[in-house]
């Protein structure tokens, strides 16, 4: 018996500078994303990842009317570190940088720039970001939202912290439009119980999800303490 799908992936966009799969039309590898849908006076405060997300969201949510669930484990590490260094030196903080140091800064700028006043959530989950996004999305869809955008973004860890990570974090961002409605082109997302083989920890980062979306990885495992999700691409 097959488990019913938990939700369906209807469309996606991704950004990973320097990645090679340039033939994939949903993937941007631009070093400097345009951020063209956000007015210039707002855009100037966004880094590359923020501009990339604004570009993706404009295409996935054309009417700017979907709730947005955004997750990042580390946020903007370089800027945070810059501010901490300034504080350590008792130098004044840049008000603009400080204003954008909150975890929901990118969704906030997108919301102002595009006039999307729907629910937004910014999540950090110690490596379980993708699983947390699925859980949250499921909640909004169960409450009757016709579609939800989930966005997942990371930036490379600042050099002075890389020694603490066994797996390097790739700079990348990815966004999916999900719903409970199956269509011919949609991919089903199905939960399954853990098996005895599921012992390894699995913390997918945005670049892993992009690998799966681009077809360079067959399965994406996303283990939680008592649950595992498996994404199954449609035929």
């Amino acid at each position: 018996m097959t488990t019913p799908a938990m939700m369906y992936v209807h469309d996606w966009r991704a950004w990973q500078p320097g990645r090679r799969d340039t033939s994939q039309p949903r993937l941007s590898v631009a070093e400097k994303p345009a951020g063209g849908h956000v007015p210039a006076m707002l855009r100037r405060r966004l880094t590359g990842i923020g501009r990339a997300l604004c570009d993706m969201l404009a295409e996935l949510d054309v009417d700017a009317d979907c709730p947005l669930l955004y997750a990042s484990r580390h946020g903007d590490g370089e800027r945070t570190l810059e501010m901490l260094n300034a504080l350590a030196e008792e130098a004044p903080l840049s008000p603009a940088r400080f204003g954008l140091s909150v975890h929901n800064a990118i969704p906030g700028v997108y919301s102002i720039g595009r006039g999307n006043r729907r629910t937004q959530q910014a999540i950090a989950a110690s490596g379980d970001e993708f699983a947390a996004l699925l859980v949250e999305a499921r909640g909004y869809l169960a409450q009757g939202e016709p579609a939800v955008i989930i966005a997942f973004a990371e930036q490379a860890i600042p050099a002075r912290f890389t020694a603490h990570f066994t797996t390097p974090i790739e700079t990348a961002a990815v966004a999916l439009r999900v719903s409970l409605t199956p269509t011919q082109d949609a991919w089903a997302l199905t939960p399954r119980p853990l098996t005895s083989d599921d012992t390894a920890e699995s913390h997918p980062q945005p670049s892993d999800l992009i690998d799966w979306l681009c077809g360079t990885r067959d399965e994406l495992h996303c283990h939680r303490p008592r649950q595992a999700w498996s994404l199954v691409r449609g035929e």
């Binding site: 210039a40 006076m41 855009r43 100037r44 405060r45 004044p92 008000p95 603009a96 204003g99």
Partner: protein, 87 residues
Amino acid sequence: MTSELEHELKHLIIDTLELEDVTPEDIDPDEPLFVEGLGLDSIDALELGLALQKRYGIKLEADSDETRHYFRNLRTLAALVEERRTA
């Protein structure tokens, strides 16, 4: 006509506030800097205040009528720097 100080302030504004698409010629010395004209916002005002302090040693009250007067346009800003600079 734009004075040398006004020219310097134009560059300070563009660099400090990361105005990507703005050139010094785009900033009219008599046009408002905030909301209308150049279209800067309240965070820019704080950022500019900090830059004036770093570059010229000028300290301003964030919410005084005097500050509002000096931040009106590039000419008033240049007058402030002429009057109060210590660096």
